[in-house]
């Protein structure tokens, strides 16, 4: 081989290695058509990568939306009767539609919806993208760069068992997945390193929750949000049995038994739906959509000092909260930008609207 060719060859290999090390995340995404059987929770990672929970297929997909902008779009997004508009686009009636999740792509400012067209077992999974002008278009799940991580045992051929995905988040190279099975009552919180490897299977950890430090159950997580407490990454999780708990992400290791620390008791008839964390006036708050209480605003001040509630408290326990009654009927909640949230809200009269609300 002539010397120049050899040099050129070495240079190309070097360039390829450099490219692969720089673009490691993208390299794992291969072009094709993801075999999504359903679309559930959505969460965005960096550079417009969308994570999609597929409960029926028992998998998490990472999809490169290619939806990035130098300056993410700003301004409010508002679509009245969005269920009717989506149904019209999909050629069906609103009653045959389910909106499963709402997420905002921080790289573009666009809002994404996961939707089931149909309510039976053969419902078609659809992803929609909405810009700030309110234009709705399909994000076709076809010929896209993607990767898949299978959730072990979530789906077993011929069995009636299935696993609902109740929460999904991306946090510093991990995809966190909360699930609940339709048979055994137990917590399934999985931490899947991203980029996914070919053989990636999320390993589940068990999280136990003790009420007032006494009775301990392996209760499922209903919704959760990552939050940094004194520089350490934590999960704030709302349980099916209502308390809000914290635990450090560093404990999420396969086979570990984690004990969550109760930081607030939300009381009876509570049904936490979605949670976001935001900053206002130099302080952090949790905003929780809740079926019976409208939106709940929970200041996190003092969260690091709570070592767990040890005594039953008459009313509010741990962190206190205020309820924003004006926003009753919120079904989905996502952070739009640092000052606003986007909500899917069932208005009086029954219309389903997509609205922007200033963070309280």
């Amino acid at each position: 081989m002539p010397r120049t060719s050899r040099f050129l060859g070495a240079a190309l290999i070097g360039a390829a290695l450099l490219a692969s090390s720089l673009g490691a995340a993208d390299d794992t995404l291969k072009k094709g058509t993801p075999d999504l059987k359903s679309v559930g929770p959505l969460a965005f990672g960096p550079d417009g990568v969308l994570f999609v929970g597929d409960p029926l297929g028992g998998a998490i997909f990472a999809i490169d939306t290619g939806d990035t902008a130098k300056e993410p779009a700003t301004g409010a997004v508002k679509i009245e009767k969005i269920d009717e508009k989506i149904a019209a686009m999909l050629g069906t009636k609103p009653g045959e539609l389910l909106v499963n999740s709402v997420a905002v792509n921080p790289s573009s400012g666009n809002v994404y919806l996961s939707v089931s067209r149909g309510r039976g077992p053969d419902a078609a999974p659809v992803l929609l993208r909405i810009d700030r002008k309110g234009k709705i278009e399909e994000f076709a799940i076809k010929d896209v760069k993607f990767a898949k991580a299978t959730l072990p045992d979530a789906v077993q051929a011929g069995k009636q068992r299935s696993e609902a995905i109740t929460g999904l988040a991306f946090l510093k190279g991990r995809v966190l997945v909360a699930g609940l099975t339709n048979e055994e009552f137990s917590s399934r919180l999985r931490s899947i390193p991203y980029p996914f490897k070919d053989t990636e299977k999320g390993s589940a950890v068990e999280i136990f929750h003790a009420s007032h430090g006494k009775f301990e159950t392996n209760s499922p997580v209903r919704t959760f949000v990552p939050y940094t407490i004194k520089g350490e990454d934590h999960i704030l999780a709302a349980y099916t049995c209502t308390p809000l708990v914290k635990f450090p992400v560093s404990q999420l290791k396969p086979g570990e038994k984690i004990k969550g620390t109760t930081i607030a008791e939300l009381g009876n008839r509570n049904r936490p739906l979605d949670m976001i964390v935001y900053e206002k006036g130099g302080k952090d708050f949790i905003l929780m959509a809740n079926n019976s209480r409208g939106l709940m605003k929970i200041p996190t001040e003092g969260i690091e000092k709570i070592e767990g509630l040890v005594k039953p408290v008459k009313d509010k326990a741990g962190l206190t909260y205020e309820t924003i009654d004006a926003l009753k009927g919120v079904q989905k909640l996502a952070k739009l930008d640092k000052d606003n949230a986007v909500v899917l809200i069932r208005a009086e009269g029954g219309a389903l609207n997509l609205e922007t609300v200033p963070l309280p």
Binding site: R119, K214, T217, E265
Partner: protein
């Protein structure tokens, strides 16, 4: 640069003005379409639905030559399909998604998704949107709908587990089995728990947006609110446990619940039951009784439990391996109110040693697992701690 479609002169098409009902029941059978009405009169352009629900719409009677590069909005100005049921609202003007093309001189539109039974569609061809059209022409409108193959109510609740009529106070869940796939999204509206006076119990169940269905949407899992079962939590302290020992209740599944075809159920289902003591004890395989089959038969192995176990988990977390550790293929059934499990091998038993394998995640009715009770009082000693994932019960099949 936008290429133009060469249509015949719009004036020459003379689309009809009057709305007349064709009611051309071109086969009212399953999956076939009915064109209800059109504003077009022969020989002007006619909008047709080709090849049924998964097919496409086309405009016949116009002869465009060549294809065209148009943006979706521009295509929709020329030829669009709408869900007509939404007329009167702005959404009624949102066109159905799909793809347009001009092929072999025919303008067609293929919806992105199959047409739905019971939905009325309005197709609008607007000759005025043709490039180069100078004279405003009235649009041609046609209505289509796919009749529902079957709108009769036939689906019923097949059964509810546990099947016994006395449940522990800390009963954790019900499995509701239906005779056909059901629709998701509104499950909790149609489920009620009534007390002995037929008054609804307030918020008895865990309501999850995701709804816990099997993949075929034929079995619904209904958890009681765990916040009112687990001791020491606010919901239970505020309003007490959902079920109370000594009282009677009725689980009601309302027939208004739609099945996956969009038809309500045939009848309302009721499961009356009494409530007994809470159960805080783990199921212990040492107390199970095995009735053994004999070799060279396909007699079932029967395992009897002192108390009912979870119906869903029993079908998955119990199995049998032979002396080599190979799983024995079989059909399993349950009887005696989930207190008996029958394992019938597909091939005859051979004389020799076998093991009944028990996954320790198996639960009783109150969620007590073999390896852990539903809740552990961490200030008290746990009587029995099981660390392994499976427990084995060896047995031997003998010659008759």
């Amino acid at each position: 640069m936008m290429r133009r479609i060469a249509f015949p002169s719009p004036a020459a098409l003379r689309p009809g003005l009057g709305l007349f009902l064709l009611c051309a029941a071109i086969g009212c059978g399953r999956g076939e379409r009915v064109q209800l009405a059109t504003t077009a009169k022969q020989p002007g352009p006619i909008i047709r639905l080709i090849e049924g629900p998964a097919g496409h719409f086309e405009v016949a009677g116009v002869s465009p030559s060549g294809d065209a590069d148009r943006k979706p909005d521009e295509w929709n100005q020329l030829f669009a399909v709408y869900v007509d049921d939404l007329s009167g609202s702005d959404a009624g003007q949102t066109p159905v998604m799909g793809s347009h093309q001009v092929k072999n001189g025919v303008l067609s539109f293929k919806p992105r998704f199959s047409l739905r039974e019971g939905v009325r569609y309005r197709a609008v061809y607007n000759p005025s949107a043709l490039s180069g059209t100078a004279v405003a022409e009235k649009p041609v409108v046609a209505f289509f709908s796919l009749p529902k193959a079957d709108s009769s109510s036939t689906t019923v609740v097949a059964n509810v587990y546990p099947s016994c009529d006395e449940l522990p106070e800390n009963q954790l869940k019900f499995y509701i089995n239906f005779t056909a796939p059901m629709s998701r999204g509104e499950a909790y509206q149609y489920i009620r728990l009534l007390d002995a006076d037929n008054k609804p119990v307030d918020s008895p169940f865990l309501e999850l947006d995701e709804e816990l269905w099997d993949p075929q949407c034929r079995r619904f899992t209904l958890f009681f609110d765990p916040g009112r079962i687990k001791r020491g939590l606010k919901p239970r302290e505020e309003v007490g446990p959902t079920l109370e020992e000594g009282k009677s209740y009725t689980l009601v599944i309302d027939k208004k619940w739609m099945d996956a075809r969009g038809n309500p159920m045939k009848e309302t289902y009721k499961k009356p039951f009494r409530v007994g003591k809470p159960d805080d004890t783990q199921p212990d395989p040492k107390n199970w009784k095995l009735s053994l089959p004999t070799a060279d038969t396909v007699q079932p192995l029967t395992v009897a439990f002192p108390k009912p176990l979870d119906h869903g988990l029993l079908q998955r977390l119990l199995w049998v391996v032979d002396a080599s550790g190979n799983r024995v293929p079989a059909i399993t059934t349950l009887s005696n109110e989930e207190k008996a499990w029958h394992f019938t091998p597909l091939k005859g038993w051979k004389a020799g040693k076998y093991e009944l394998m028990i996954d320790t995640a198996l639960e009783d009715l109150a969620g007590n697992k073999i390896d852990r009770p539903f809740e552990v009082d961490i200030f008290e000693k746990i009587d029995r701690k099981v660390e392994q994932k499976t427990v084995k019960l060896p047995f031997e099949v003998k010659e008759p």
